[in-house]
Amino acid sequence: MALKGLDIFKLSPKKNCKECGSPTCMAFCMKVAQGAVEIDKCPYFSDEAKAMLNEQTAPAMKTISVGEHKLGGETVLFRHEKTLVNKNLFAVSVCTCMDEATVDAKLADMAKVDYERIGERMYVEFVQVANTQNDPAVYANLVKKAAATGRSLILECWDVECAKAALAVCGKDVILDGATPENWEAMNAVATEAGVTLGVWAENISDLYDTVKKLEEKGNKNLVVDVTGKTAKETLANAVLVRRTAIKDGDRSFGYPSIVNLAKLAKGDAHLQTAYASMFTEKYASIIVMSGMSYAQALPLYGLRQNIYTDPQKPMKVEAKIYPLNGADENSPCCLTVDFALTYFLVSGELERSNQPVNLIITDASGMSVLTAWAAGKFSSTTVKKTFEELDIANKIKNRTLIIPGKVAVMKGEIQEKLPEWNVVVGPLEAVQLPKYMKDKEYEAAAKAAAAENAAKATTAVEVKELSFDELLATKVPAIEVKEWDAQYKGYNPESSTFVTIGERIHCIAPSIRKAMDERDPEPILQRAYEQIKAGATYLDVNIGPAEKDGPERMMWAVKLLQENFNNVPLALDTANMKAIEAGIKVYNRTNGKPIVNSADAGSRIGYIDLAAANDAICIALCSADGIAKDNEERMMHCDNMLERGLSLGMDATDLWFDPLFLVVKGMQDKQMEVLEAIKMFSEKGLKSTGGLSNNSNGAPKDVRPIMDSALVAMCMMQGLTSAIVNPNDRRLMETIKSCDIFKNHVLYSDSYLDL
């Protein structure tokens, strides 16, 4: 098992003396785990710990590089456990037993399969050259021919003289698949001298293991194992046992990439080879050797490989660009959607079914689906405008009809404003409605109307000057009416160690709040604030949506509205518009605590830390960059990076509230304990933490969610969680939190502690 930085950290002196040159022991250990620093740089590690680490730091399965290709390096048996690292590669086999014309035809056919699919080049990476004649000159000749293709080579050759002759005529990106229980010593010398990877094969798995052991004893660990058996059944057994022995049992002598030779197992049956190759893509081949690779085989096999080897925590993305469909040209209308691969396949499939020429424009949305991307601010009029500029769409397409997904009808106005020459039309809600929509040209009337509106606007357009916050406050923020409430905010002492609840119910994802924010209607917002305050919320989160257009005045209004009505209740300001947060802080009253900036991450939202630092605010720091962190090592790396940034900008460490990112049980059940462990790590570093805890129970029945949330919050508080973004009107949850605060000795017990 590969040792993680955190495992090393457990053995470290934890002095943070900086003598090694790293700011903290944790940072040092991370670097050791990555192999960037020698452990001897630290003078305080005990010899015992060092010896243990040296033995354990070797990964269970080696990564072997052949030219530009990487093989192996896997850490799990199933992709859902973490992710598979290095995709399997394909080879086409040629042999000295073939005549020249056959070889030429095979290599020419192989070269034809070379295309791109979702940003990945699909081609046959290796040529496998089999030696059956044992004539060095003949073999070298064939190898030369194979090398001329420019592909990496697998030399299946058990004869030492032939191997030498072959290696003399080809480059270094070669696997010499030639060691057997009989010849391993001589073959090892040949491979080592040439500096190439050595492949090992034996009649049975036991001899294979012994031969690998002997080669390792000679010091050669640049190996691959050829697990091809006499039958497909035996080969599958070998492939699984080799991988399972390495990863599950931790026996590194089988921790090498594997070759499966289907040219031997399914001679002459191309369809059967497709079936076998599909199986070995899922079950542990690193290189699959085929007797040929036609398009009919490549299309499913490369598609399957791409699916199996995608990171389960990072969605597949397609390239942002114009996809002309059904013979579309510059005069065809345009449909817009996001770059999530499944969205693309669905939408392009339906558009193709319509048989209408249309340009599908894919915009960069970090691989999220339409609504998720919109809510995260990754699919907004700004990101759309950026795509249009980067792809120079206005010059490439003359037609000005732009159909946007029905699910983001709210964006129509904003997109129209950012792209004034286009006629923006709201398309159907679901992709399945597209064929009819396109065939019946339902967009035409709407496009005409948009064009007329644009023309009218053009004649009345005036230069709009950007106003300062003070000017906005004076002119654009309606006066606040303060009402009498029968429950008031009781005040909060930021020094207290009681659990901080951040009420999540003022959120633009709720249609009533979205409408109220748009219309500056105080009622629905105040009502939800009142309910949350009455239930005992410490902070209130204020989500005003992406708010691209009028963010600053919106946020100023919301902050004043809530604070003036509720005794300066402290707030978390939540929007993708940074200017809006800045404006909100300008009018914020700090009596009951600093404002919270919600939120920064270690990726594209790192700038929120700077914003919080510049405005003396607390900042929620989400420990992910793009997508969910794959393990706690990555989470803590993000944590350290954000902490360093905050501290260098003069923030207090306790003003950064780290969010491990709570994961939904339905789907990521096996990752829950990792999240809890991350909270403990924050706590052990003396850091504060928070997060959207109720995400864990997303999709669970309504009556079950409070039970799950309560159980989780108790476990989290045990681990040291200091705050959570929750629904304060969930009574069971709030009572659990109050009870935990009693057990943690944060609040002195009295019989009526629940009522306080």
């Binding site: 059967l272 599909s278 199986m279 995608t310």
Partner: protein, 313 residues
Amino acid sequence: MSFVPKTAPFSGKINAVTLGTGDKAITIGGQNVLPFYTFDAAIENAPKIGIEISDTADQWDVAGLTELYAGCTTMAERAAKAETVEGADFICLVFESADPNGDNRPVADCVADAKAVAEVVTKPIVVMGCKHLEKDAELFGAIAEALAGKNVLFMSAKNENYKTVGASVALANNQKVGAETADDINLAKQLNIMLKGLNVPAESIVMNIGCAAVGYGYEYVASTLDRVRLAALAQSDADLQMPIIATVSADTWAVKESTASEEDEPAWGNREERGIDMEVSTAAANLTGGADAVIMRHPVAIATIKKFIAELV
């Protein structure tokens, strides 16, 4: 020093479910190891292949299928022909044209077709509907009654209609029921619990955990298969120990790789070959992941997968 592989079956076991009657009856499931892991323990029952006959089969336009069914005009004629295809273990009837949003074929007509098929074939029958929740529930109930005693599998009961389907198919007529979910292990478990709650015996339930053509989000299918199988075997989760059927052909023959003409994609070569390889690859991937049966269409693809299974068990 020599290598002794650590091999062991799991304590959990997949339920063995029998479909059909007489000497052509088949049993799927029954094993206590991952697919084709014969080195851990013998595979109780080899995976099976169903051949798909749709009531829209006259629209199938690749040569291998038009030749196979040449001269056939009814579902029964096609089914009789399908039964002779090498490798087909059971017949899968699909009543696509029953869809109220499409041809809205009456239930009585579909029942007549199903009865006619049952008279000419001896292999087990699986019935699929039109994916319209209410119509399917009605259709399945009627066919279940008409084919009483034939031990037919109906695909499928979903979260929205499992009560009606479970009651009419499994309880009233003692047939087998498929539980269909879409790449969601939690929902798959829940649906099985609900069906058992209706008093449907666990041995009458088969799962369809969702399918996709390779290249088209198949990663979700692959991981759901892995997780369902590990829960059933390693955790002995009795609510996930039902055998799995994958409906391969409907997905693979609808994607671009199988439908694009040679004019549109000259580099790709023969369209029929592409369709066969898409079907073969998706079926093999499903069987490797955990499917105990696959539903397929093309005779060449079926023969290939039959050989694949025979080589591996």
